[in-house]
Symmetry: C2
Subunit: 235 residues, 2 copies
């Protein structure tokens, strides 16, 4: 009798497994928060056994921190590719806003993770050594843009780059991360295409108007027909 070819019950793939676990954990943590996340669900979603989490990553908290660090790593590395240096200052700021906005749109889990971590008053992030070092280059990048803008006369004001970045991130972040409750209380869907386009225009207009002193494009939806436009805006 011919020896039947063994069908494998599982393949070995430690790297792949680790990645699948981290990805599944990202989903789970962003969907349910730290306390709400279920280790079993992460395992299931990763197509793995619960024991694997502990084998490959560590306990729930370590897993969470790994996910968080990965998330920061990803956004900062994409930001490095922005090269704002070669754009004239207003255009650089516009691009920074658009990037931030689109990144948040493309990576909603990042927003959730940040919220979760802040709910925990950054208890876990404080333990991370990697994260702290990733940010100064980014701040310098913005500082340079602002300085160039002031020197060239494009910008009326010199603004602290950290404040500016927090403002830009805040304008994007709050709208998106709180869109659920905001949609309910204001009774409009803030996530449909039109609403998102309007929001982006509003933010770019707001920031550039403040920096340059000139009202920008779509921000000034109407100044001609007295106050009619303000009304129309709401429908």
């Amino acid at each position: 009798m011919a020896k039947a070819k063994r069908t494998l019950k599982w393949q070995r793939d430690p790297e792949g497994m680790r990645l699948r676990i981290l990805e599944a954990a990202k989903q789970e943590f962003s969907a349910h928060g730290l306390a709400g996340a279920r280790v079993d669900r992460i395992a299931a979603k990763a197509g793995a056994n619960k024991r694997m989490l502990y084998y490959h990553v560590g306990n729930k908290d370590e897993l969470y921190l790994a996910v968080l660090e990965g998330a920061y790593d990803k956004i900062r590395s994409e930001e490095r590719g922005l090269d704002l240096e070669h754009l004239d200052p207003p255009e650089a700021i516009r691009r920074l806003i658009e990037f931030t906005w689109n990144y948040f749109l493309r990576n909603p889990e990042f927003l959730s993770l940040l919220q979760t971590e802040n709910l925990a008053r950054a208890k876990h992030l404080k333990k991370s050594t990697k994260v702290k070092s990733m940010h100064s280059p980014f701040v310098e990048m913005i500082r340079t843009v602002v300085r160039r803008g002031v020197d060239s006369g494009d910008f009326q004001v010199a603004v602290d780059p950290v404040q500016l970045y927090i403002s830009i991130a805040g304008l994007c972040f709050f709208y998106l991360s709180n869109s659920a409750t905001l949609s309910v209380i204001f009774g409009r869907d803030l996530l449909d295409k039109k609403a998102k386009d309007e929001r982006l225009a509003h933010m770019v207009g707001l920031v550039l108007a403040a920096l340059t002193g000139q009202s920008v494009a779509l921000f000034e939806i109407a100044k001609a027909p007295k106050s009619r436009a303000a009304v129309a805006q709401t429908a």
Copy 2:
């Protein structure tokens, strides 16, 4: 033998108990989120027995919704007292920003609750009927200010009041609710007195500059000495 005067084991006070439970629940939910909150801790903090929660309010979810509704009720009712109608438009906007900022500072649990609820994609808030109605008057209040500002020439642009409010709230909210992680990644304490003052100035400057077209007070920290000021800002 004289009958000893009974010492009461407890007093009756349903109203008070209900309030203490809601207050304790607010603390607990804002500190630990919905999933992280512990019913026993709420009971203990309220100086009550766990059974009381179910007796006076209902199960964990109902308790959470009650807390959430209470939180919205409180901020909206304080906002109604702002009467922006009697201020000239730029001053009204400044006051709105200052109020929002200070309210968030005074009521950090409100921020946490919002974060928690958004993490749950407003699942619970959607069930609430009370909340939806509380907001249109507030939007109208802002709309009126904007309209007056445009008509008087103070504002260069007519802006959608909902967008404007979301921007103001976002500038305040993100800074405060994310101060924990931001402080870590930028390596500065964003909650000390000086930092908070600077932030408020920055926000008022940003928004008013955008609306009026004129750079406002502390926002323009320096335009004279070339780019030196931008550097000084960071220390």
